[in-house]
């Protein structure tokens, strides 16, 4: 299947090994604010991350940590106002998307960057058939006829393993189950074989068995198309099997980045450690489950210094005054650990001690 590329604005799609110098997507020092009646909510405060083709980045964090807002900023679907982006860059194949016109960005959406939403039922239009909504992608971006679009829709439904696709193409969203609906959302996102997919908690609304099926499907399709994938989640279990690297967010900042298995083995930030310790474990059956004390900070009034300090067991005076920068994490002897960084004054103690 070849894509008729609708955008000339962005060079070098996923053709072979092309441009190696700039990553597929790079977010640099991104800030997002919301103006509310109570004041300015700083939802994202200088986020940096990057994703390459074929790579999966998991963005991990509690509700309100800014992970979804970052994703919406990348997609360009933030409601502005009340949101605004005072600072930062979002580079897609090296080009800053924040400097593009609205029309240029719209053409990228769906065709080059697509998004999978959390709640598939409310994200599908209830009065339009599934086939129509899938076909719409081809009609908007490639100008296909209704008939051709429907054929493509059936093909896509087959690809995401919806049984009897041809018979169900004219059904409405409510006629599908939760898992099937999420498959349809995935099919919509995949339709034009984008370079990057952002999945915003794609399995949260599903039950556990269906979660596994959907994640497997997503991982399989990602391998097949060599797409970049940003997986936004608060579920550490989902991440482990799928992701290549992890970025942990807290109060609008990235507090730790690491390759996935390293993070599980040796977290370098007390918050990450707390998250890992609060996963129920079979070998600790019967004991009290650990929980991080306190609540996520109010984004109108983020604590000074490290935002995590009121909840941190290791917090010292410096944590209440100085904001820790995201610094590279090294072994005890100083050898570098590629891809690892932590925003904690006491990362050494956390990882090695």
């Amino acid at each position: 299947m070849t894509i008729i590329d609708p955008t000339d604005a962005v060079p070098a799609p996923r053709s072979g090994d092309g441009d190696k110098t700039s990553p597929l997507l790079e977010v640099r020092d991104l800030h997002v604010e919301f103006k509310t009646r109570e004041g300015v909510v700083r939802a994202v405060n200088g986020v940096n991350y990057s994703v390459d083709s074929g790579e999966t980045l998991a963005v991990l964090g509690e509700s309100g940590s800014g992970k979804s807002v970052t994703a919406q900023a990348i997609m360009g679907i933030l409601d502005m106002p009340p949101a605004s982006i005072p600072k930062g860059e979002i580079r897609f194949f090296g080009q800053d998307m924040l400097k593009m016109s609205g029309e240029e960005r719209r053409k990228l959406r769906g065709a080059r960057i697509a998004m999978i939403f959390q709640d598939a039922l409310s994200s599908l239009n209830p009065v339009l058939s599934v086939g129509f909504q899938l076909g719409e992608m081809f009609r908007v971006h490639q100008g296909l006829s209704r008939k051709q679009a429907k054929a493509k829709a059936i093909e896509l439904m087959d690809r995401v393993k919806i049984p009897a696709a041809a018979a169900r193409v004219n059904d409405y969203p409510h006629q599908f189950s939760g898992g099937m609906r999420q498959r349809i959302m995935i099919a919509m996102a995949l339709a034009l074989e984008p370079d990057l997919i952002i999945a915003d908690e794609p399995t949260t609304a599903l039950d556990v068995t269906v979660q596994a099926q959907v994640m497997d499907l997503l991982a399989e399709l990602q391998r097949e198309y060599r797409m970049g994938l940003i997986l936004i989640t608060h579920d550490l279990g989902v991440v482990a099997d799928v992701a290549d690297k992890i970025a942990v967010m807290y109060a609008g900042r990235i507090v730790e980045t690491a390759p996935v298995h390293e993070l599980y083995k040796r977290p370098a930030h007390p918050y990450t450690r707390g998250l890992l310790d609060s996963i129920p474990r079979l070998d600790l059956k019967g004991q009290d489950l650990y929980a991080i004390k306190g609540l996520p900070p109010n984004l109108l009034k983020v604590p000074s210094g490290c935002a995590f300090n009121p909840r941190c067991e290791k917090a010292q005076d410096i944590c209440r005054t100085d904001l820790p920068p995201l610094v590279p994490v090294t072994e005890r002897d100083g050898t570098e650990l590629p891809g690892r960084a932590s925003a904690c004054h006491f990362w050494k103690e956390t990882i090695h001690g």
Binding site: M75, I77, R106, K107, L108, R109, G110, A111, A114, M115, F117, D119, S122, S123, L124, N125, P126, V127, L128, E136, M137, V140, H141, K161, P163, Y172, H174, Q175, F176, S177, G178, G179, M180, M185, M188, A189, T209, V210, Q213
Partner: protein, 312 residues
Amino acid sequence: MSEKTIERPTTDEAALAKELEAEEKAAARQASLLKDGWADLRKRPLFILSALVIVCLLALAIAPSLFTARSPFSDGFCQLQNSMNGPSSGHLFGFDVQGCDIYTRTVYGTRNSIVVGVVTTIATTLIGGLLGMLAGLIGGWVDMLLSRITEVFSALPIIIGGLLIMSIWRTGDVWTVSFIMAILGWPQVFRIMRGEVISNKYNDYVMAARALGADSWRIAFRHILPNTLAPVIVITTMNLGVYISAEAALSYLGIGIQSPNISWGLMISDAQDRFLTSPHALLFPAGALSLTVLAFIMLGDVVRDAFDPKMR
């Protein structure tokens, strides 16, 4: 062993079958509003009855000459010596004060009533719907401005507004009356449309459509509009009857359709002075009016029952 043979071939398919089953139950509860409403509608006797009456009325309006051999506009149609004669064979409804055949006039009056009702309804739906959608979609100062304008129009009572406009134009045909009522009636549709658009535009599927690269036009007309239609259809059907009776009221008061145009309201007004001596001149046009309004209101009622999700 037996467990294994069941499980092995289709772990996936078994799960799928289960999903399908669960989903069918959900489907019964909340099917697509329009489809569901239509299926519901066809089963209601009241709908069939009102639809039949309306079909007859439409036939009368389109081809009145099929139902009467006389024409109210021909010479010698009114013979003064017949003035106020009661019903007789050949003149079932009798004659009015000018000696005109009431049956023929009633038949020919149907068209004006229906045209006024339909034209006004279409006009209010288009004006109110379009502006309501604009206000809802754009929001901000556009919404503010349009809403205030709407309030100005809806503050004007229809009788006073009608008097005002008629005193300027004085033509008194179907179009003037429709114009008056459309000008004063669109705020109602505006409010409904605006509210529906606002409640729909923050839905996830709108954001999903944006995330997949749909432009504003497509989002407005393909995604939001279909979701707002059901309540608008309901109010539109109800309004048909309301506008027909409003036309009769305006004509009765002398600020609607004027002679020589035929209107049921006008006929009622002409006949009222002699009601005690010859009631037929008033009763027949009044009956026709009542039947028509009843049919449309009944239709609106069953349509609302079928379409309004809150009534279920």
